[in-house]
């Protein structure tokens, strides 16, 4: 799959990023890792494992890292399909492959992973409830109906990669991408994916209270647009 680029935002993931990259390289030679100013040796692990290293000189947030990774991936010759993938090992490559097949066999521009169509292994009841509430909020504010609003696994074509402009630097980017899907009129579909909530990914994930920040930022964007 030389026409596919995986885009992986990396912030202090030295422990797991190597195995995540190697896992992807088994099916896809292009793994673009944006090291977002990590203070550990994530950058060395990325080079060792054979991913493309794109180094943010300062920490700018996951949304900014995704945008950088997509812009770099666009420059790779022959790349026409893009996958956004988390660095902490919670996504499965076979899910991404399945989503790529959906992208090819239908006329959608972007395929979104959903853990509520699939399984969320190891998620606590509270986490599930919070995520469902986030979905309801997203459906209300974005004008698009989804079953999962904050899933980092996405597959999209060149058109989306060329026109997507993520400006929200932090975790709010997930909501912003959904708004951009509505605004830019991308054709989309959701596909069931499995999320592995390991102890590591739960510890690295964002605290639940961050939902407040995301909600406020989303409303602010609605007002200022």
């Amino acid at each position: 799959m030389r026409d596919v680029a995986f885009v992986v935002p990396v912030y202090n993931e030295a422990e797991v990023i190597g195995s995540v990259i190697r896992g992807v390289l088994e099916t896809c030679p292009h793994v673009v890792c944006v090291n977002d100013g990590s203070s550990d040796d994530s950058a060395d692990r990325i080079l060792e494992a054979g991913g493309y290293l794109v180094n943010h000189p300062i920490n700018m947030g996951q949304g900014a890292a995704l945008q950088t990774g997509i812009e770099f991936a666009r420059l790779l010759p022959g790349v026409t399909r893009f996958v956004t993938f988390d660095a902490d090992g919670q996504h499965r490559v076979e899910d991404a492959v399945r989503m790529l097949r959906v992208l090819d066999s239908t006329d959608v521009d972007i395929v979104l992973g959903s853990r509520f169509l699939g399984e969320a292994i190891g998620a606590s009841r509270a986490k599930r409830m919070l995520l469902k509430a986030a979905v309801r909020f997203s459906n209300l504010t974005s004008g698009i109906r989804l079953t999962d609003a904050h899933n980092g696994l996405r597959v999209f074509n060149r058109h989306v990669a060329d026109t997507l402009r993520i400006t929200a630097p932090d975790m709010t980017h997930a909501s912003e991408i959904i708004e951009l899907i509505a605004h830019n009129k991308y054709r989309f579909v959701e596909v069931a994916v499995t999320i592995d909530y390991s102890d590591y990914s739960v510890a690295k994930g964002q605290p639940a209270v961050n939902a407040v920040n995301i909600a406020v930022d989303t409303l602010l964007r609605k007002v200022s647009r």
Binding site: I21, H30, L47, T68, E71, P77, T167, P169
Partner: protein
């Protein structure tokens, strides 16, 4: 003139001079400059003739002059905060775009576009370490 009046007027004058002399003054909106000058004049008048503030306050239905001043300061401060927030966001966006350009240019240099084509066709298995840090083999900049 009471001592406090002298101190306050000197302070306003100093702020006004600093604002005028600042290098970036030309980039500030002309209306903001006019508003700032008017504010300075009003402040000096208020310091010299405090009773006038009371008269104005009565005229617009606020009890005391100090209350009127407090309200005005609150509104001005709120404007200031929002203004600064928007400026900070704009500056952050510019910083991010600059940093993104640097990151991409550096990565392009590390891999080189012509070298990349070769890499892409040979990299069926990961080639640890071989992808980077060989500047002498990089193609010249396009």
């Amino acid at each position: 003139m009471i001592l406090i009046q002298v101190i306050l007027i000197l302070a306003f004058a100093a702020i006004f001079l600093v604002a005028l002399r600042s290098r970036s003054a030309h980039s500030v909106n002309a209306w903001k400059k006019i508003a700032f000058a008017v504010l300075m004049v009003v402040l000096v008048i208020a310091v010299l003739a405090p009773s006038m503030v009371g008269v104005v306050a009565q005229a617009i239905g606020v009890g005391r002059g100090t209350d009127l001043v407090l309200y005005l300061v609150s509104v001005t401060f709120a404007f200031y905060v929002v203004n600064q927030y928007l400026h900070a966001q704009e500056a952050r966006n510019q910083l991010h775009q600059l940093a993104r350009r640097i990151a991409i240019i550096e990565a392009q240099e590390r891999y080189g576009m012509e070298r990349l084509t070769v890499l892409a066709s040979t990299r069926t298995t990961p080639a640890p370490g071989t992808t980077a840090e060989q500047p002498e083999t990089l193609p010249p900049h396009a």
